[in-house]
């Protein structure tokens, strides 16, 4: 990452000072997201796709499916693969080439959020036990990075999954007929997981950081949860957390979860 593009320390101090007064640079409350815009079906060739904008941050998530052999330890279950690519066009910080730490982490967090919540019913993606199962690919592309790519990708992934259709499969020739879809959707459970990230800057906890805020964030906790239970947690950045702070984070995440879910509910039908 080029140092030139990172946020200067003095801006970090300003952000912390302003947060102490309970204010943020863009007049948002600490629990407030920027405006969320969702568009589905943005890709012609993908099985399902979504474009999510949170303020200036923008990601596109696409779902592809193919038929492959199952893993030996789960012969009757489909597979899931999540990859994220941070495109150089989305930020001067990203370079082309093999995925770096941030891209790998982004992909893994989204993967875990979807996988561990049992959102996809993998048993139903089995064509022939031990031989043929569907593999679901979630591909995340950053279009513009103004902070909080994690949540944008998480929202995009579940909306794209919800809108995806299974392509036709020719069992005689053993090929997937791409470009033709069945009416069947990917079997999903009713428990919709949403992964949301809480950041700690100074003494304040906040959600949906801008690029500048994300740069000075001391702790980042991504919690993947559905209405009923928490299924995944990932902590980032180097500072530590106290038990009390952690329960505050859990409370905050729960409140924000309800708020965000209401906003994107219409895309999840």
């Amino acid at each position: 990452m080029d140092k030139f593009y990172t946020t200067p320390e003095i801006i970090g101090e300003r952000i912390k000072k302003y947060l102490k007064q309970g204010k943020r640079f863009d007049n948002r409350k600490t629990e407030e997201f920027r405006e969320i815009l969702v568009e589905t079906g943005v890709s012609k060739n993908a099985e399902g796709s979504a474009r999510v904008k949170i303020g200036n941050t923008e990601v596109i998530v696409g779902i592809k499916m193919s038929v492959g052999t199952p893993y030996p330890d789960s012969p009757n279950k489909g597979n899931l693969m999540t990859t994220a690519e941070l495109l150089p066009l989305s930020s001067p910080r990203f370079e082309s080439g093999p995925p770096k730490f941030e891209a790998i982490e982004l992909g893994r967090i989204i993967d875990r959020g979807v996988r561990e919540s049992k959102f996809i019913e993998f048993e139903k993606l089995c064509i022939k036990e031990g031989e043929k199962v569907w593999t679901v690919f979630i591909d995340i592309y950053s279009i513009n990075d103004d902070g909080n790519l994690l949540d944008a990708a998480g929202i995009g992934a579940i909306i794209a999954l919800k809108n995806a259709k299974i392509p036709k499969y020719d069992s005689k020739k053993d090929i997937v007929v791409y470009g033709e879809w069945t009416d069947e959707k990917i079997p999903l459970s009713k428990n919709i997981p949403l992964s949301l990230t809480v950041h700690k800057i100074g003494e304040s906890l906040l959600v949906d950081p801008t690029r500048e805020e994300e740069d000075v964030s001391e702790v980042r906790v991504t919690i993947g949860s559905s209405k009923e239970f928490i299924s995944s947690i990932q902590k980032g950045e180097s500072a530590s957390l106290e038990t009390e702070e952690f329960s505050k984070i859990l409370d905050l995440q729960e409140r924000v979860w309800k708020d965000i879910f209401k906003k994107i509910e219409k895309h999840l039908k």
């Binding site: 140092k3 030139f4 200067p8 320390e9 003095i10 000072k17 204010k23």
Partner: protein, 229 residues
């Protein structure tokens, strides 16, 4: 009788004029008897001199420019400073107006600090900087806004009219670096943020004629909104 060259958008390699009537200026080059563009921007002719007002691109360092940069590294006799130009710039210990011990350079400026510096020389080795004038040195407080370096003249305005207007309206101190970094320091953080908003508004509207008037209206509108709140 020579024909007048109109303002037009040119791309690198484009022939702007032919013949011996014109002289090549900034962003242009003479090849044979043709004047061609070397940058993307608006071509303009003043007194037979053709120059290009660039619309995009990185900062081109010039001698005498005051710029804002970030300390990238400390060497045994100075600081390497990133000013957003093609190459790194160097601030030598000799160009600091007070005595600094050789092994305590980081006490004056450490890696990651933002500094206001002046370019006093450009040569093959790189860019040489100085902080030997008033108003130069390390930035302690405030916020930094980054804009396209080609929009800097618009932010400053005619003889500083624009930047003075912002200073007056927001009670802030503003230093505009020629490389597109702008330092804003006010009494209240909300003042600084208002100044930042104004700067970004100017950059967005940089092509509008009579911009200073528009900014005045913009400030009036902002003030009313604040009172209503």
């Amino acid at each position: 009788m020579t024909e007048k060259i109109n303002r037009q958008i040119v791309i690198p390699g484009e022939i702007i004029a032919k013949g011996e009537d014109f002289l090549p200026g900034d962003g242009t080059e003479k090849r044979g008897n043709e004047i061609i563009a070397t940058r993307y921007g608006l071509s303009e002719e003043v007194n037979k001199l053709i120059k290009i007002i660039p619309l995009s691109g990185v900062y081109h360092p010039r001698r005498g420019n005051v710029v804002i940069g970030k300390v990238e590294n400390i060497t045994f006799n100075g600081w390497v400073i990133d000013i957003g130009a093609g190459e790194n710039a160097f601030l030598s210990l000799n160009e600091v107006p007070r005595y600094i011990n050789n092994d305590s350079l980081d006490e004056l400026m450490n890696i990651g600090d933002m500094v206001i510096v002046k370019i006093w020389g450009i040569n093959k080795r790189g860019i040489d900087l100085s902080i030997k004038s008033r108003g130069l040195g390390k930035i302690d407080e405030g916020i930094i806004v980054k804009v396209n370096p080609n929009k800097v003249p618009r932010v400053i305005g005619k003889e500083g009219s624009m930047v003075n207007l912002i200073k007056k309206e927001t009670n802030s101190n503003i230093t505009v670096g020629q490389n597109g970094f702008i330092w804003i320091r006010g009494d209240k953080i909300s003042d600084e943020l208002l100044a930042k908003k104004a700067v970004l508004f100017i950059v967005e509207k940089s092509f509008v004629p009579g911009l200073t008037e528009e900014i005045k209206e913009w400030f009036d509108k902002n003030r009313k909104e604040k009172q209503n709140e």
